[in-house]
Amino acid sequence: MVATAQASDLAFSGLTKLFGTTRAVDGVTLRIAAGEMVALLGPSGCGKTTTLRMIAGLIEPTEGDVLIGGMRITRTPVHRRNIGMLFQNYALFPHLSVAENVAFGLQMRGMRKALIKPKVAQALSLVQLGALADRLPSALSGGQQQRVALARAIVIEPTLLLLDEPLGALDRNLRDSMQVEIRQIQQRLGITAVMVTHDQEEALTMADRVVIMRDGKLEQVGTPEEIYSRPTSRFVASFIGTCNFLRGDVIGQEAGRPQVRLAAGGQIALPSPANDQKEVLVSVRPEAISLSAEERGTPATILQIVYRGQATHVHMALDDGTPFLAFLPNRDGKPVRSAFSTGDRIWASWSPDSNWAVSEA
């Protein structure tokens, strides 16, 4: 078993990076608990990679501080930070064997050969690559290479594990299993970890908390469930998964629930009191919606029906032209409701608990 140094918490306050006049990262403040895995998620150019590289020390912040275990490390050079880092292209040393790659960090720490050998073997067996110790990285598949990189990063018992789009170059199936594998190892070792990704599923799968970044700022921070079911903005709701957005006016309260008359017709309730605003934007996830030929709920016209294996996606237009999407689960690979066809007029309904008011931006 590879042990870790005492897990430390990570914090950054007012972290800012200017490239010329562009504020790539703009006053980011966040605290990450010891042993926690946080995913920085956002579109390209949102500042997530720059933030990660400032934590690593590969970029110097313009303003703000990085603290590990309460210690300010903002000006500590990279090689004295004791971090393990995974890169998108694995960054294995091509002239060294798998075992030599894993041993590199220990050698840099001046560890004796006799001590290095068992540690390397342990780390490689942790990622199930003990048999390939003498190979060169070029003889390994992408997934194996990233496993070697993981072994190389954790063998030094880092206080912090940083992952820069670690699975971006792998194909879908391998990515899914590697997500679970990396997550398991991170949890088992209890390493504080920060991951950068633009893949929302990866963030939801691997992270304790997801940080949505936009234009260098934090847009929303929360558990995967909070981010998915309680997005604060239209940006977050549409970035994580797929979402329908409905415009409406609050017309009153009923049993503590604000009633919203939709611009597209029909009336829905919000699950919790909205702030005093009159006009609201309501988000509804497509999987929450059921469709019926009976006149119940919000009327819509079917534009297109797409079979997607585990679900059938029904693309619709509401009466005011608002696009509307429903995911109907399939059973045994067959659509539960196959009676609908393109051009049909149908009624969509969903539970008020599925409604969630978001900000416009």
Partner: protein, 267 residues
């Protein structure tokens, strides 16, 4: 890379490559053939077979000293270019040096300057400084023309090094100088080797600079060759030329054995 070209396009490529090889190598083959000729003048086709021209040349004191001058000059220029060019190329590529583009352009400028003029200018400059030592003048001049080759090839290979390798090494606790020796250098060894080979060959073969800067005591091989030719054009000239070709071939083969020339030339 190792795969063969096929089809009509492949045939054209092979024929073209063969034609280029013939055009480049045929004159060299003529020289080598003539060097074994028994005729008293360098004529083609050669007559008979003898190695006496080689014996004569190798026994010649002037040839020996010219050969030693050339090899010493080439080795010293190569080492000096390496010592000066490596840090220059590294700094220009990895550090935020103000005016780095101007500095790089200046370092590479001997590429585009007419070397004959550079040599004349250098001669006048050294006369001004009262530097009468031909060996020193040749050394400075040769470094001037070989340095760009090293800077160019090392720069090219540094640009190909994946920066994340160096970053990974840093995160693993390697201080910058160890990142350089343990990670960067192993990636650019072929480029360094190719650069050094270029330096050696350029210096060994250098004529226009040496033409101005050499004197009777310190005379590199190409100047000696030219001097001999103006006296008598017998197959010993061809023998000297063949020995130069042999030295070049030895350098290329040595590099191939050391680091693999195909890798070295891939930059």
């Amino acid at each position: 890379m190792a795969s063969r070209l096929s089809g009509g396009g492949g045939l054209v490529t092979y024929l073209l490559a063969a034609a280029v090889l013939v055009f480049v190598l045929a004159p060299l083959a003529v020289v080598v053939a003539v060097s074994f000729s028994t005729a008293p003048l360098a004529i083609f086709p050669p007559v008979g077979f003898t190695t006496s021209w080689y014996e004569e040349v190798l026994a010649n004191d002037e040839f020996q000293s010219a050969f030693i001058v050339s090899v010493t000059l080439a080795v010293c220029s190569t080492i000096t270019s390496f010592v000066l060019g490596m840090p220059a190329a590294y700094a220009l590529n990895r550090w935020n040096v103000p005016g780095s583009r101007a500095i790089e352009a200046m370092l590479l400028s001997p590429f585009i300057m007419p070397i004959l003029i550079t040599g004349l200018a250098l001669l006048q400059f050294m006369a001004m400084l009262k530097l009468r030592d031909a060996a020193l003048g040749l050394f400075i001049g040769h470094v001037l023309v070989t340095l760009p080759y090293l800077v160019r090839t090392v720069t090219a290979s540094l640009k190909q090094v994946d920066r994340s390798l160096e970053e990974a090494a840093l995160t693993l606790g390697a201080p910058p100088w160890k990142v350089f020796t343990k990670v960067t250098v192993p990636q650019i060894v072929p480029g360094i080797a190719a650069g050094c080979l270029f330096c050696f060959m350029v210096s060994f073969d250098e004529f226009p600079l040496s033409f101005w800067l050499s004197n009777a005591e310190t005379m590199p091989l190409p100047i000696f060759l030219q001097n001999s030719m103006t006296k008598v054009f017998d197959p010993s000239i061809a023998a000297i030329s063949s020995l130069m070709i042999l030295t070049a071939a030895a350098a290329v083969i040595g590099l191939e054995k050391l680091v693999g020339l195909r890798r070295a030339m891939s930059v």
